[in-house]
C-alpha cells in the first residue's frame, strides 16, 4: 500500500514537473513572439536562441532565429544556422527555400537561384514544390522566374489552368496584359462561370487603351475557337464595349445568344444597354436581329418598338444638327411614323400601342409643328390609356392648345392634371398656368401663382417664377398695354408666328421709345429675326439696343448675342470685338466667363 502511494506521488510529481516545464517554454515562446511583433528583434532573438539551445531539434525555434537574423541583416548567421539544420535534415525543402531567400537578401543572387533551381530539379514532378518556391521568388520580386516555375508546374500537372490566377497576376505586375489574358482564357475554357472573378481582376485596367490594344487580338482569335464558351464570349464582349467596337460586340452577343438558347433575350438586354448609352445605330441592329431571327419570340414586340425608337432618336439627332432637313430625311421620318402606326395596330390595347401613339404625337409636334395631328394622337392616348400613359399626353395636349391659341382648353387640361392624385409635376403645371395668365394679360393672377412657386427654392421653376415676376413688375408701368403686347408677342413667337410677333414688338418700340419695356422689345425683335435666320436684321436691332439704350439690362446680353451671331457667320474678328467689349464694359456680367472662353477658342488657345 505504501509503495503504491509512493508510486502515485512520484507519478504526480513527474507529470507536474514536466507540465510546468512545458508551460514555461510556451510562455517564453509567447513572450518572444510578442517582442517580435513589437519590432524588438534583439530581445526576441535572445529568447528564441535560449529556447533553441534547450531544444535544438525544434524547427519552430530555428526558423524564428533564421527569420530574425535575416530581419536584422545578420545574413551570415542566418545562412550558417539554416545550413547546419539542413545538414541533418536534408529533406526540409522549406528551410532550403528559405536558405535561398536569405542568400538573395544578402546579395548572393547566384547562390539563391542555384538553391531554388536545385529544389525544383530534385522534386521535378511535384507541382506544389514549384508553387512553394515561386512564393519565395515573388516575395523577392523575381516575377519572371516565378512565372517560369509556375508555368512549368502547369505542364507537369497536365492542368493548363493550374495557378493561372497567380500567373496572370504576375503578368499584370509586369504589365504583360496579353499574357495575363491568356491565363484568364485558360481558366474560362475550363470553368466559364469564373467570368465574374476574371472581370473583377481585369476591371482595374480594362479602360486603358494600351491594354485594350494588347488583349483584343488574343480574345478575337480565342472567340473563333471557343465559339460556344459563354465565359469567353462574355469577356470578349465586355472588352469590345470598352474599346467602343460596338459592331463587333453585337456579333459576339448574337453568337452568345445562340449558344445559350436565349431566344433573343441576350440581344435584347444588349440592345437596351446600347439605347440607354445613346448608341442608337447598333441598338437598331440588335433589335433588327431579334426581329429577323426570333419572329415567334415573346420579346418580339419590344424589339420592334425598340427598333422604331432607335430610328426616331437618330432622326432627332440629325434634326437638331442640320439646318434644312431634305426630302430623304422626311421620307425616313414617314417610315418611322408608319412603323409606329403598324405596331399600334399590331398590338392593340398594349403599352406598345400607347407609346406608339404618344411618339406619333411628339413627331407631329416637334418635326412638323402639325398641331391638329399632334392633338389627335395625344387625345387618343388620353382616351384609351389614361391610367398608364395619360398624364404625359394631357400635359402635351395643354401645350398643343397653347400653341393653337386656345388658352382656355389648355388651362382646363392643366387644372385637370392638378386635381389628379399623386401627380408628380405640380410646380411645372402651376408655372405653365401662370404663363397662361401672363399671355392673357392677367398679371395679378400670374403674380399670385408665381409667388407661390417661388417659395419652393429647391425647385428649378422657382427661378423661372422669380424672373417672370420681375418682368411683370418692372414693365407694368407707365402702361400695362405694352406689357400685354409684349406677352402676346412672346406667345406668337412660341406659336412660330414670327411676323405678327415682330409687328407687335415694333408697335411697342415706336409708341414708347423710353419705356422700361422698350429695350426688352428691341432685344426680342433681334432674337426673333435670328430665329428667322435674318442675321443682318438681328444685328441691326442689337445695334439699336446698344446705341440707344446703353444702360439697358440687356446690353451685356446683346453684346454676347452679337458675338455669337458673328461667330456663327464666321466673322471671328467681329465676334472677338463684341466679346471683348462685353468683358470691358460689363465685367460683372454673367456672360463674362462664356465670352472669355469664346475669345480664347477663337484665338485657338482652347479646344
Amino acid at each position: 500500500m505504501k509503495i503504491k502511494i509512493i508510486k502515485l506521488f512520484l507519478i504526480t510529481f513527474i507529470i507536474n514537473f514536466a507540465f510546468a516545464q512545458t508551460q514555461d517554454e510556451l510562455n517564453l515562446l509567447r513572450l518572444a513572439q510578442s517582442f517580435e511583433r513589437a519590432g524588438e528583434y534583439e530581445r526576441a532573438l535572445k529568447i528564441y536562441e535560449e529556447l533553441y539551445n534547450n531544444n535544438p531539434t525544434n524547427r519552430v525555434y530555428l526558423e524564428a532565429i533564421v527569420r530574425l537574423n535575416t530581419q536584422t541583416k545578420n545574413y551570415d548567421r542566418a545562412i550558417k544556422l539554416a545550413q547546419s539544420w539542413l545538414s541533418s535534415h536534408p529533406d526540409d525543402i522549406d528551410m532550403m527555400a528559405r536558405l535561398g531567400d536569405v542568400n538573395f537578401k544578402a546579395g548572393n543572387e547566384k547562390e539563391a537561384i542555384e538553391i531554388w533551381d536545385k529544389i525544383v530539379k530534385t522534386y521535378r514532378n511535384n507541382p506544389g514544390i514549384y508553387r512553394m518556391v515561386a512564393d519565395y521568388l515573388i516575395q523577392n520580386r523575381l516575377y519572371d522566374k516565378a512565372i517560369q516555375y509556375l508555368t512549368t508546374a502547369q505542364k507537369i500537372a497536365g492542368v493548363p489552368e493550374l495557378y493561372s490566377f497567380e500567373i496572370a497576376m504576375l503578368y499584370e505586375f509586369t504589365m504583360r496584359f496579353d499574357k495575363a489574358v491568356e491565363e484568364y482564357i485558360k481558366i474560362l475554357r475550363r470553368t466559364p462561370s469564373m467570368i465574374p472573378s476574371v472581370k473583377s481582376r481585369m476591371s482595374s485596367y480594362i479602360n486603358r487603351s494600351d491594354v485594350l490594344k494588347q488583349i483584343l487580338p488574343i480574345l478575337e482569335s480565342e472567340a473563333k475557337v471557343s465559339k460556344s464558351n459563354i465565359g469567353i464570349l462574355d469577356l470578349y464582349t465586355w472588352v469590345l464595349m470598352e474599346a467602343k467596337d460596338y459592331q463587333k460586340a453585337l456579333e459576339i452577343q448574337t453568337q452568345l445568344d445562340k449558344v445559350t438558347y436565349a431566344n433573343g433575350e441576350v440581344l435584347l438586354n444588349f440592345a437596351r444597354d446600347l439605347f440607354n448609352q445613346g448608341i442608337y445605330h447598333i441598338a437598331l441592329k440588335a433589335y433588327a436581329s431579334i426581329i429577323e431571327n426570333y419572329p415567334n419570340s415573346k420579346i418580339l414586340a419590344e424589339a420592334k418598338f425598340g427598333a422604331i425608337r432607335s430610328n426616331e432618336e437618330m432622326l432627332r439627332l440629325r434634326f437638331n444638327t442640320i439646318e434644312n432637313p431634305d426630302s430623304i430625311f422626311y421620307s425616313e421620318l414617314r417610315k418611322v411614323e408608319s412603323d409606329y402606326l403598324k405596331i399600334s395596330n399590331e398590338y392593340p390595347g398594349t403599352k406598345y400601342e400607347a407609346e406608339a401613339l404618344f411618339r406619333l404625337g411628339l413627331i407631329k409636334l416637334d418635326f412638323y409643328f402639325d398641331l391638329d395631328q399632334a392633338q389627335r394622337y395625344f387625345e387618343e392616348v388620353e382616351k384609351k390609356f389614361m391610367l398608364s400613359h395619360g398624364k404625359d399626353a394631357v400635359l402635351k395636349l395643354a401645350e398643343v392648345f397653347t400653341l393653337k391659341g386656345d388658352l382656355e382648353s389648355a388651362r382646363e387640361k392643366y387644372l385637370y392634371l392638378m386635381k389628379l392624385k399623386n401627380f408628380p409635376d405640380t410646380l411645372r403645371v402651376k408655372f405653365l398656368l401662370a404663363q397662361l395668365d401672363y399671355y392673357e394679360g392677367n398679371f395679378n393672377a400670374a403674380i399670385k401663382t408665381l409667388e407661390e412657386i417661388s417659395k419652393f427654392t429647391s425647385s428649378d421653376f422657382s427661378n423661372d417664377a422669380i424672373e417672370l415676376i420681375l418682368k411683370i413688375q418692372s414693365n407694368r408701368f407707365p402702361s400695362e398695354e405694352n406689357l400685354k403686347k409684349m406677352a402676346l408677342a412672346e406667345l406668337k413667337i412660341k406659336q412660330k408666328r414670327f411676323t405678327e410677333a415682330i409687328s407687335l414688338l415694333e408697335t411697342i418700340i415706336s409708341t414708347c421709345s423710353n419705356c422700361p419695356i422698350t429695350d426688352d422689345a428691341i432685344f426680342t425683335v433681334s432674337k426673333t429675326y435670328e430665329m428667322l435666320k435674318k442675321f443682318d436684321k438681328a444685328i441691326e436691332y442689337l445695334e439699336i439696343l446698344l446705341n440707344g439704350h446703353p444702360e439697358s439690362i440687356y446690353a451685356d446680353d446683346a453684346l454676347m448675342e452679337k458675338g455669337k451671331i458673328y461667330q456663327k457667320l464666321g466673322k471671328n474678328e467681329l465676334a472677338i470685338d463684341a466679346y471683348t467689349k462685353l468683358i470691358s464694359q460689363f465685367p460683372n456680367s454673367i456672360f463674362v466667363n462664356e465670352a472669355r472662353k469664346r475669345i480664347r477658342e477663337l484665338r485657338g488657345e482652347l479646344q
Binding site: G39, Y41, E42, T70, Q71, T72, K73, F104, K105, Q139, N140, R141, E172, F173, T174, M175, S204, Y205, T580, I583, S584, P587, V592, N593, R596, I599, R600
Partner: protein, 422 residues
C-alpha cells in the same frame, strides 16, 4: 504744313502720355482673380515688360507700363486692374518708400524657367503646383530622375517637388494600395528606371536624386516643395549611409540601427527627427505634425494657420513669399500637413504657423547660393484630398490665399537681386 506739324505733335504727345500710364493689378480683396494675376505678371515678363512687385501694397500688387496687349489680356483672363497715370504711380512709389510704411518694391525682370519634378506614370492624385501653374497659365516643363542626375535641371531657375517620396518607400502606400494596379505599375516602373540608371535599389536612386537637387540649390537653384516631398527629401539626405526601407519596398529589411545612423548635418531643414519604421503606417517620421495616421480629428471650419509679417525693406525674400490679401489662411491636410517645430533647424525661417501649437506650416531657408521653401499640406482648397479624388477646379477658387503662397514662389526667382541694406 503747320497743321501737319501740329498733328504729328499731338500724336507724339498722346503716345508719350499713353506710354507713361501704368497698369496696376491690385491684389487686395477687390481683385477678381488673384491666381491669374500671377499669370499676367509672368505674361508681361515673358514679353519683356518689367514688373514691379509692390510688397505689402494692397495685398502685394503688381505694376507695369501700360500696353494694350497686357490690358486686353487682363480682361480676357478676368484679372481686375486699374490704369493709372504716371503721377499716380509716383504717389504710390512714394507711399511705398516711406520709412513709416512696411512696404517695398521689388523689380521682376525675367520670366523664370520652371520645372516640375513629376514621374511619367499616371498617379491617382493631383499636384497643387501644376494645378496652380496651369490655371495661372504659367508654362513649365516636367522633369524626372534622369534630368536631375544628368544636370538638365540646371537649365531651370525654379524646381518644384510635390508629394514625392525620396526615401524609396513609394509614399508608404503599401498597406492601403499595395495591391492596386497603379501602385504595382509604379513600383515596377521605378525599379526599371533605377536599374536603367545604374542603381540596385529605388531607394539608392532616390537618395542620389535628393543629393542632386541639393547640389542644384547650392549652385543657385530655387526649390519649392509641398506635402510629403518636404520631409521625405530631408529624410533621404539624412539616410545617405543607411537603409531605412523595409522588405516590401526594396527587397531586404531595413538596417536595425538606421535611426542612429541618420546624418542630420546633410539635411536642409530638419534635424533630430525620429523615423517611423512601421512599413504599414502612412507616415515617414515625426517631422509631420499632426501625424497622418490615424487621421487627425479636426474641424476644418476652425483649422487655420497664420502668416508671419516681415519687414519688407529689410527682409524682402520672406516678405515676397508671404504676400497675400489675408494673413490667416484656412489649413489643409496632406501626407505631411505641417512641420514639428521641435525638429526644424535654427537656420530656417518660419513663414507661417498654426498659432499656439508646434505646427509650422511654411518654412524657407538658404543653402549655398540657392534657397528652398517648404509648404505642408496637399491641396490648399481641398481640406482632406484623398487618393482618387478629382482634381480641384481652380476656377472655383480664384482668390485662394493658399494657392497664392505657391504662386509667390513661382515669381520669386524673377526678382532682381538687391544689395542688402546695412
Amino acid at each position: 504744313m503747320i497743321k501737319k506739324f501740329f498733328l504729328i505733335l499731338i500724336i507724339f504727345l498722346f503716345q508719350t502720355l499713353i506710354a507713361q500710364n501704368k497698369i496696376l493689378i491690385y491684389m487686395d480683396l477687390k481683385q477678381t482673380d488673384h491666381l491669374k494675376a500671377y499669370g499676367i505678371a509672368y505674361f508681361a515678363l515673358k514679353h519683356g515688360v518689367d514688373v514691379d512687385w509692390l510688397l505689402n501694397y494692397r495685398g502685394g500688387s503688381f505694376m507695369m507700363d501700360y500696353h494694350d496687349e497686357i490690358a486686353n489680356e487682363c480682361r480676357v483672363r478676368g484679372v481686375a486692374f486699374d490704369v493709372i497715370s504716371s503721377s499716380d504711380a509716383l504717389k504710390i512709389y512714394a507711399q511705398i518708400q516711406d520709412e513709416n510704411n512696411n512696404m517695398d518694391v521689388v523689380r521682376l525682370e525675367k520670366a523664370p524657367k520652371i520645372a516640375v519634378y513629376v514621374p511619367p506614370n499616371f498617379r491617382p492624385w493631383d499636384d497643387a503646383v501644376t494645378l496652380a501653374l496651369e490655371y495661372a497659365e504659367i508654362p513649365y516643363d516636367k522633369i524626372w530622375d534622369e534630368e536631375i542626375l544628368n544636370g538638365k535641371v540646371y537649365e531651370y531657375d525654379w524646381l518644384h517637388l510635390h508629394h514625392e517620396d525620396f526615401t524609396g518607400q513609394y509614399g508608404k502606400f503599401y498597406a492601403s494600395f499595395g495591391r492596386t494596379q497603379w501602385y504595382i505599375e509604379e513600383q515596377m516602373m521605378y525599379e526599371r528606371e533605377a536599374k536603367r540608371l545604374g542603381f540596385k535599389k529605388v531607394s539608392e536612386l532616390k537618395k542620389a536624386v535628393a543629393r542632386g537637387i541639393k547640389e542644384y540649390i547650392a549652385s543657385g537653384g530655387f526649390v519649392f516643395a509641398m506635402c510629403s516631398a518636404t520631409d521625405a527629401f530631408d529624410i533621404a539626405l539624412a539616410a545617405e549611409n543607411t537603409d531605412i526601407c523595409d522588405v516590401m519596398y526594396d527587397g531586404d529589411p531595413p538596417d536595425p540601427n538606421c535611426q542612429e545612423k541618420l546624418d542630420f548635418s546633410k539635411t536642409l531643414a530638419f534635424e533630430n527627427f525620429k523615423l517611423e519604421m512601421n512599413p504599414y503606417r502612412y507616415e515617414y517620421s515625426d517631422i509631420d505634425l499632426p501625424p497622418s495616421d490615424p487621421p487627425p480629428i479636426r474641424d476644418p471650419s476652425t483649422d487655420y494657420f497664420t502668416l508671419f509679417e516681415f519687414s519688407a525693406k529689410y527682409d524682402p525674400v520672406p516678405t515676397m513669399l508671404t504676400q497675400n490679401h489675408v494673413n490667416v489662411i484656412r489649413n489643409f491636410l496632406g501626407q505631411t500637413t505641417s512641420f514639428n517645430r521641435k525638429v526644424i533647424k535654427k537656420s530656417v525661417v518660419i513663414l507661417a504657423e498654426k498659432e499656439g501649437t508646434d505646427e509650422v506650416k511654411y518654412i524657407h531657408g538658404n543653402y549655398g547660393r540657392g534657397t528652398f521653401t517648404f509648404l505642408g499640406g496637399h491641396d490648399p482648397e481641398d481640406y482632406q484630398h484623398a487618393v482618387g479624388d478629382p482634381p480641384t477646379d481652380l476656377s472655383l477658387h480664384k482668390n485662394s490665399p493658399g494657392y497664392r503662397l505657391i504662386l509667390n514662389n513661382v515669381l520669386f526667382p524673377a526678382a532682381k537681386k538687391k544689395k542688402l541694406k546695412t
